[in-house]
Symmetry: C2
Subunit: 216 residues, 2 copies
């Protein structure tokens, strides 16, 4: 019997590729978050990805009334990336505590069902500079997991953290990721806006990998 | 103007005493959690405590469908403490990831409103042996906070972590804690059961401090 694992799934390129990387080795339980994100439509994408991958999923509703991010506050604007440079200053789309909240739910889920791995598709190369996506953040969180649980063997795994977006698209292609089911754009309109950090990073990845993005 | 702080408030003895210890020094925002606990009535106690202390509060709803604890799973029984010994084996009332989830919401709240302190009434002497109540858990979590946020100065503070229940009752008495508004029993009946770990620890504290518990 396969070991159980939790996979954080947003329905985007990175988390979907992560799921496809590990779904044959582990019995994966996907965790999808509805946290008031502007691009709520990604939740439907995530559900479809989980179903297509043959995995069970839970959608967890998170209410952050204090907001603090343009990604969940409709009174703020999603920044359009004009310079093309990404990863310098932390942008307004950063959601305070988001990955910490996501991973703490994953920890609870893992311990309750006896899973020992939590996979997250975080990436620290082609990323928006969010502090909670960097390797040392996960390293330190793993220490908290070790100390703060009954089962001391639950570990966060970040298989694509050192991959470029080009590598991720190549890896996804190799593992037959259904790219057409994924959604990356922060704006959450009918079509990707093509101007936010997330769209720009995705386009760069497909272009450099020499693949066609079925979504754009 | 006072600095802002987040106070995790369960409506029990420890968190209420913690709030009263710091409420004059900081502008406190209380965070109350509705996580499917059997003793849901403590939520009303917590709200009354916050109001009485003159503090704003948020009630955050947390849904843990995977359960994994007798405190949130009505198909399991709350263990009655027969031996009187507490703090050995982790009991079934332990909720996987609970403090990690609570603190991650507090982190999000703190960063969004510009608070730098998060107070939690955790106690590592007269406690049930939960791994997420120990000093090294908080020390390590503080490192995650420092690395994983935009504002690197948000810190968890545990002012009563090395106090006995006797000390906490004495401290509460000194700071005019409205003990009559607090609730500790895990069973959540009309009256405290007097048999669960939480009731036993509370009774011990009042007895050793030579104070009368207005609730029992």
């Amino acid at each position: 019997m396969k070991n159980k694992a939790i996979v954080l799934l947003s329905g985007g390129l990175d988390s979907t590729t992560t799921l496809y990387l590990v779904k044959n080795k582990y019995k994966c339980f996907c965790l999808i978050f509805d946290y008031g994100q502007r691009h709520r439509k990604e939740i439907e994408n995530a559900k479809n990805v989980a179903k297509t991958a043959g995995c069970k999923y839970n959608v967890v509703k998170i209410f952050l009334p204090w907001k603090g991010s343009s990604l969940i506050d409709k009174n703020k604007k999603i920044p359009y990336n004009k310079s093309g440079s990404i990863g310098g200053k932390i942008p307004s789309t950063y959601v305070p505590g988001r990955n910490t909240i996501f991973l703490s739910y994953a920890l609870s889920f893992a311990e309750a069902i006896g899973a020992r791995k939590i996979f997250i598709g975080a990436n620290s190369l082609d990323f928006s500079g969010y502090p909670d996506c960097r390797p040392k953040y996960f390293r330190n969180f793993n220490r908290v997991f070790k100390i703060g649980t009954r089962n001391k063997n639950i570990k966060i795994e970040t298989p694509i953290i050192y991959k470029t977006k080009k590598d991720i698209v190549k890896l996804g292609t190799k593992h037959k990721v259904p790219f057409e089911l994924t959604w990356s754009c922060y704006s959450g309109g009918k079509h990707p806006c093509g101007k936010c950090d997330s769209c720009i990073l995705r386009a760069k990845g497909f272009k450099e990998a020499g693949e066609e993005d079925p979504v754009s």
